[in-house]
């Protein structure tokens, strides 16, 4: 299963981004192969509609779960219709490798 995590930077040591639509990077983590992929978010500077555009980006990668600090109002209903699970993590001090470790232990 593929899981998307919002990140503030492009290394495993960078912290989770508390916003979904305007995060700096998306990390696509594959639980089967254990691989991670960093995708820069082009929708970051959008005036409007950054959330839905980001949903399209992660959905096109076949993600089934999204970890972020906060989701906007438009995003929630789109994720629901796509059957993608949302995980809200308020702890902004957690790094990407911390979260990946949690997800690995979960398996």
């Amino acid at each position: 299963m593929k899981i998307a995590i919002t990140s503030t930077g492009n290394s495993p040591e960078s912290k989770i981004d508390s916003r979904f639509g305007r995060c700096a990077y998306f990390v696509i983590y594959d639980t089967e192969s254990g691989s991670t992929e960093f995708i820069p978010n082009q929708n970051k500077e959008n005036v409007e509609g950054a959330g839905p555009a980001s949903v399209q980006l992660v959905a096109s990668r076949g993600v089934k779960k999204v970890v972020s600090g906060e989701f906007g109002a438009k995003v929630k209903s789109i994720f629901d219709s796509l059957q993608i699970q949302l995980v809200v993590l308020n702890d902004s001090e957690k790094t990407i490798s911390d979260i990946i470790k949690l997800l690995e232990d979960n398996k």
Binding site: K65, Q85, V87, L89, D91, L102, D105
Partner: protein, 191 residues
């Protein structure tokens, strides 16, 4: 036109689709048990709530709850006696259980496929999870009178209508917290 039905609140839908009698050929005339009827049977006969409590949990009036419950029992009896299949389907409901919180890692998560039961945290896999419930539900069970003018809250005394209580701060008439009057007042303030 009839007044629209009040939307019934449900905690969790059943994680299977229905029942089938043993030793009878498959027939396609099932009894359709609405989700609200399933919930009524669960609250009254499984959780053993009284009708007043159960009605508050489902966010409907006590007589409405009684009607849902009666219809549910008749359908179950019909299926038992005539050996018909029961299918859980439809009904005017919304689910309370969409969000869960995990006490181990402190995250929140929702649940896209409602038919499956949630047992583990989506992030850390801990079994120490809690279902999110909102304040309106809590106040419906606790019964609080609220002043629509200044927001002062008093504990409701059963048997005395809230509007007979007087706010100790501004001598205004009180209304029930989370009740229709409070919502109406709140709507008026928005305009």
């Amino acid at each position: 036109m009839a007044r629209p039905k009040r939307i019934r609140k449900m905690t969790n839908p059943p994680h299977f689709k229905g029942f089938r009698p043993i030793g009878l050929p498959e027939e396609n005339n099932p009894v359709v048990l609405n989700f609200e009827e399933y919930e009524a049977i669960r609250l009254s006969d499984f959780e053993l709530y009284g009708q007043v409590e159960a009605a508050q949990i489902m966010d409907v009036s006590r007589p409405t709850y009684a009607r849902i419950y009666e219809s549910a029992r008749r359908k179950v009896a019909q299926a038992f006696v005539q050996g018909r299949t029961i299918v859980f389907e439809g009904g005017k409901v919304y689910f309370n259980s969409e969000w869960y919180s995990c006490n181990s890692c402190g995250c929140w998560f929702n649940h896209p496929s409602k038919e499956l039961e949630v047992k583990n945290c989506a992030l850390c896999g801990s079994i120490d999870i809690e279902q999110y419930s909102d304040d309106v539900l809590q106040s419906a069970i606790e019964d609080i009178c609220i002043c629509p003018k200044c927001g002062e809250e008093l504990k409701h005394t059963p048997g005395i209508p809230c509007r007979q209580e007087i706010c100790p701060k501004c001598s205004n008439m009180m209304v029930r917290k989370g009740g229709p009057y409070q919502h109406r007042n709140r709507n008026n303030q928005c305009k």
